[in-house]
Symmetry: C2
Subunit: 345 residues, 2 copies
């Protein structure tokens, strides 16, 4: 119920997700039952694996995350996350207040043992396929140990969900040399170097889109800024092309022709394609979508939640973290061999 | 002599700059005289305001900046910068080792009174015209006071050189609210808020290309990463379009048509257009170009050096810094009224 267009887009997206996968999973819609049923009535839902659980409160975008969680015990967020905690659902997804979803994930599901701070990863396109940028804005002030943990969690995600065999991990920095950057980053380099992650060293801003690595590690301050900068590129290009074409017929025609190739090329700079980003480091599956999620984005978020649940990501992270403890310099061993990722890491 | 293609491109670019402006200034080429004269002999140079000053040593890209400056007293960098210091030249420009040019600028020209750390600004395109990102990679660890000084220097540059009347200054952060971001950034917000700069508050990653401000203030760690990310966008797009077109005639034709509009639209993400970035906070004019500068980039770097020299930027920065001292919370008054910017700030 927390999304900007809830429950309209949520219901429409849930229906799309079930249709597309022929009920590969069941969707439990959590929120004000009447409003949800009113929406459901607008669609053909016969034969779809849908159910509704009532929750009469809503945490809004303006609410303070922790205060709202305490005060609104019957929010769709708290009720839905608890269903997951109790094992009545295998994953949770929401397009609501990001801070509140993160807090609820941490407070209700609990942190994975060995994880100092849960984090949110974001997807970036690259010439060599999708990569995970972690942290994407959750933890703005980080110590080296946090960056090290982000690298482990990101690496497990890239392996278990993206199915990269031995994902390359890079530390986002201002130069390739080991002694570049802030003290925190230099310290993190040392921790990563001695781990058994596939750490290839520092990567620079230009290496992200080139696809030099599958996991880009940085603090949430840098991550958030790079991510939002990237998201603004298609809009910038559109505005520039409009200026270029203005008042000239030939140019207008050229720009019209350019539109389709460009749209296709920049498609995965668009959040709708990915639908949502994962909370990493909690005991469970929690996916956070954009507040303005369209039905398509909601559908993709649900598909992603199902995919992450199937990958048993949390267990992989827990195993990897315990291998890396204590002190953070022990090697992290990790191999996923089966389709369901249920081998020992 | 320090550039990757020196003195070939340097000589060619210098000649272009004089031809384009009909000798609006004089260019002194500093370096190994024989090599330079050999290059000059390959061009038509009659009537051009060119001279050569011999300097037989070269600081390479691999040299350690400070050590090289001490050891190579007759490097083209040291000799050229000294000519500027002695008033025999009004500006200095180089496509050599960035760290060495920055060190030489600071050591030979000296810091402007009140400036804790000289900085390098970089140019970013935006929907509303060029903007200055400062710091672009020089100072990776910053305190609030440093960010505050970057804002003053960047604002003076935007005013004196870009001729923005009252440049809007934004602090790069993860959200608009005052209490967002790291402690350092929050502290810098307070300093900026009480200054008389046209500080509009925090800006996010997505606001840079939108052109929300003319001066984006950040530490060199974030600045360098955003800058290099931005520079990689045209290459990424090119690669994506190639993938899109692969093996399909119609698509190949569409992409071919898209090439010109795109190239024009992304032109100023290309360093060649700007030629070089200014060292801010030193007593003089020092412009640093890309090591791989083409003749066109060298030409633009020289034009920029002339423009900055004419703007009397250093004096404006000195006046603005002294108005902001002591303590950093005093208001900064600044007005430039004449073409030559020689009014009291």
């Amino acid at each position: 119920m927390g999304g900007d267009f809830a429950p309209v887009n949520e219901v429409a997206g849930a229906i799309q997700s079930l249709r597309q996968t022929s009920n590969a999973f069941e969707v439990i819609l959590v929120g004000r039952e009447k409003e949800i049923r009113d929406q459901l009535a607008r669609h053909q839902t016969e034969g779809l694996a849908l159910s509704v659980v009532d929750a009469d409160e809503v945490i809004t975008m303006e609410d303070s995350p922790t205060a709202a969680l305490k005060q609104k015990k019957h929010s769709s967020l708290a009720v839905g996350m608890s269903l997951h905690k109790e094992g009545k659902a295998d994953a949770f997804a929401s397009a609501g207040n990001t801070g509140a979803v993160l807090s609820a994930s941490t407070l209700i599901l609990g942190r994975i043992k060995g994880v100092s701070r849960p984090t949110i990863g974001a997807f970036m396109p690259s010439e060599a396929g999708v990569c995970l940028l972690v942290d994407a804005g959750t933890n703005v002030d980080c110590r080296a140990r946090h960056l090290f943990e982000f690298a482990i969690m990101g690496s497990m995600y890239a392996k278990a969900v993206f199915r990269y065999e031995n994902p390359k991990v890079g530390l986002l920095n201002v130069g390739e040399e080991k002694l570049k950057g802030t003290e925190v980053v230099q310290e993190a380099y040392k921790l990563l170097e001695t781990s058994s992650l596939n750490f290839i060293g520092n990567v620079e801003g230009r290496d992200i889109l080139k696809g030099k690595v599958q996991v880009v590690v940085c603090d949430g301050f840098v991550g958030n800024i790079v991510l939002k900068f990237g998201e603004s590129v298609p809009g910038f290009l559109k505005s520039r092309l409009k200026q270029y074409a203005a008042g000239n017929l030939l140019r207008t025609a050229m720009v019209a022709i350019a539109r389709t190739p460009l749209k296709r090329s920049l498609r995965d700079m668009d959040y709708e394609e990915f639908g949502g980003v994962p909370v990493l480091g909690v005991n469970g599956v929690s996916i956070i979508g954009h507040g303005k999620s369209t039905p398509k984005a909601i559908k993709n978020m649900i598909l992603r939640a199902a995919e992450v649940a199937k990958s048993q990501l949390s267990r992989h992270i827990e195993d990897a973290m315990s291998a890396a403890l204590p002190g953070g310099t022990a090697p992290v061993e990790a191999t996923i061999t089966s389709e369901h990722g249920n081998q020992r890491l």
